[in-house]
């Protein structure tokens, strides 16, 4: 009998079983149930329609409204008002309704995401928490209603595949380039219904904040979840975010055992990526897996550049972009938008002087959240416009007009493209910047 994979160990523990294998159907208890301003209202409506009256475990619920806030219109304001009232009535204290930021960045930042947890979020990018060794699984709103009512949910145990990153990255290589390189191999459904383990020596070259970018896009490979094995960097990240210090002792997550990876656990398939051979990458419209070298697209004129999202809206991303933008102006015809993912990041960027760098370069700074990514509000694209975005999806029509063209890239490519006014490989500019005295 082979050992259990990381995700199998988490699901076995959460479902009270000694052992589970891929294909088993289990009823698992969620360590945390989450939703946002878009998915929570429908979940609450279904909860009420079913005749449920009490949330099973309000201490294990986390809802953040980061898509619309500040509200776009009366209808979206009404939706969030409804969620706020529900949370107040049910004793859900972890509700963040206005400007605190968006769930996938806020929850880890607050220290409520811990390794080994099973986190069920009514949002597809639940896999982001995998960078901390938590198993984040996305659900729809009715599943979330069920989770609110009973604290548990049925799931099929996924098979596990692996993406291994090896080698030392070049100066202009970010984790976005790593995950886009992986997307090029897996396609948009290579990991459908499966769990992805991201491993390899190259991961140690990147901070935890940078690793979130990789875990975040597991869903773009079709996966149910994605995980990385927690290491010393994760431990340090967690130490700095002791949850009781942020939200009170009663809110500290229930400690869960952290799985031990076993070498003989069944891995259905492995993709290997040589990081040392990578150049900065871009995914072309309208598929996140249509990946090409950034410099192959020079000459493609850009109208808008977005830096932000649950993929690349953290401090490390803003720092990388600011490194290139400092002391420079973006091209006249370009609109540059920076959207810090949380209020904490906004504040830190202010303290570090990054917001001044962006403003001086000609950027607009959005309130914390992720409004532009799916065209919720702020920063929609007009017909035929070209956008470079540090987001995770470039589906047709997602950011505005159906004829707009969205290219996905990391913060360095985005900043370099804003400066050049066309899609640009940041390598030369970065070398020039690093060589120059500050």
């Amino acid at each position: 009998m082979s050992a259990m994979t990381y995700v199998e160990q988490v699901l076995a523990r959460a479902s009270g079983r000694e052992r589970v294998t891929a294909g088993d159907i289990v009823v698992a208890r969620a360590d945390l149930s989450m939703a946002n301003d878009i998915t929570a209202p429908l979940a609450i409506a279904q909860f009420e329609r079913a005749g449920a009256r009490h949330v099973a475990d309000p201490m294990r619920v986390f809802i953040a409204a980061g898509r619309h806030a500040p509200f776009r219109d009366a209808a979206s304001a009404d939706q969030v008002q409804r969620v706020a009232r529900f949370c107040a009535a049910q004793g859900i204290e972890r509700f963040f309704g206005y400007g605190e930021g968006m769930d996938h960045v806020l929850a880890p930042e607050m220290g409520v995401v811990r390794p080994g947890m099973l986190i069920c979020n009514a949002d597809s990018h639940a896999c982001t928490y995998g960078a901390l060794g938590a198993v984040g699984v996305p659900f729809g709103s009715t599943d979330l209603a069920y989770l609110l009512a009973f604290g548990e949910i049925w799931m099929r145990v996924p098979a596990t595949v692996r993406v291994e990153f090896h080698g030392a990255p070049g100066v202009a290589i970010t984790t976005k380039d790593l995950v886009l390189a992986a997307m090029a191999k897996t396609g948009v459904d290579g990991a459908r219904y499966m769990a992805v383990e991201f491993t390899g020596d190259a991961l140690a070259c990147f901070s935890v904040d940078e690793r979130f970018t990789i875990a975040n896009m597991a869903i773009e490979m079709g996966a149910k979840t994605g995980v990385m094995f927690p290491d010393a960097a994760v431990e340090r990240y967690l130490e700095a975010r002791a949850p009781h210090a942020v939200a009170g002792a009663a809110h500290a997550p229930v400690p869960v055992p952290v799985p031990v990876p076993h070498a003989d656990a069944p891995i259905a398939h492995t993709w290997r990526i040589d990081v040392s051979a990578l150049t900065p990458l871009v995914a072309r419209p309208h598929l996140p897996s249509d990946v090409v070298a950034a410099d192959s697209l020079s000459g493609v004129r850009v109208d808008q550049v977005n830096i932000g999202s649950c993929t690349n809206g953290r401090m490390v991303d803003l720092r990388q972009a600011a490194d290139l933008l400092r002391g420079r102006r973006i091209a006249r015809h370009v609109r540059l938008m920076v959207t810090p993912a949380t209020a904490g990041i906004y504040r830190a960027a202010l303290d570090e002087g990054l917001l001044a760098v962006f403003l001086d370069a000609g950027a607009v700074i959005n309130p914390p959240g992720c409004g532009p990514c799916a065209g919720w509000h702020q920063g929609a694209l007009a017909a035929d416009e070209v956008c470079v975005a540090t987001h995770n999806r470039n589906f047709q029509g997602r950011m505005g007009s159906k004829t707009a063209q969205v290219y996905l890239a990391g913060p360095l490519v985005a900043a370099a493209s804003a400066l050049a006014g066309e899609i640009a490989d940041p390598t030369a500019l970065l070398q020039e910047t690093q060589g120059a005295p500050r």
Binding site: D78, A122, S124, F139, G140, K224, Q396
Partner: protein, 168 residues
């Protein structure tokens, strides 16, 4: 659980942004959402659906955003069942939870053309397209139970009533 209808043909990787653009997600009313179904890419689609139409698509149907408003919109505009070569996981669950039948059948998805007559029998695990029968992937019993009940909300109600001692 039988569905009898007409094929509406779609391709691979149909994402939930395409099925229901984000700006419409300020309501959970299936009728209102139904009118916006595929609204940006295929503005005439919603009005052209006859109740009972069966959406037949290729690989990875419903990929992307977890928005349950997408299957709700399909239901709202009159789609009775979705058949695809494969589904994205969240869409599949959400459709089942809403009581919208879904069936995985790659050979049928390859063969079907717009307007073909189609019949799906989920319990029997067969689909018939223009007289030819295809086996559909068996659904786990948990999934069939939810569909039989008419969706997860009904299952919740049953469990709540059983728990509180009130007969269902």
């Amino acid at each position: 659980m039988k569905v009898l209808g007409r094929v509406r043909r779609f391709g691979d990787n149909i994402d939930t942004d395409a099925i229901l653009p984000s700006r419409h997600m300020v309501t959970g009313d299936p009728q209102v959402l139904g009118r916006a179904c595929f609204g940006d890419l295929l503005p005439d689609f919603a009005a052209s659906v006859a109740p009972g139409d069966v959406l037949v698509a290729g690989e990875n149907f419903g990929c992307g955003s977890s928005r349950e408003h997408a299957p709700l919109a399909l239901q709202g505009c009159g789609i009775a069942c979705v058949v695809a070569a494969s589904f994205s996981r969240i869409f599949f669950r959400s459709a089942v939870n809403l009581g919208l039948p879904v069936a995985e059948c790659a050979p049928l998805a390859q063969r079907a053309r717009e307007g073909d007559a189609i019949e799906i029998d989920l319990e029997a695990g067969t689909a018939t397209l223009a007289g030819q029968a295809f086996p559909i992937a068996a659904l786990p019993p948990q999934v069939l139970d939810i569909l039989r009940a008419g969706g997860l909300v009904r299952v919740m109600t049953q469990r709540l009533q059983a728990g509180s001692g009130v007969p269902p």
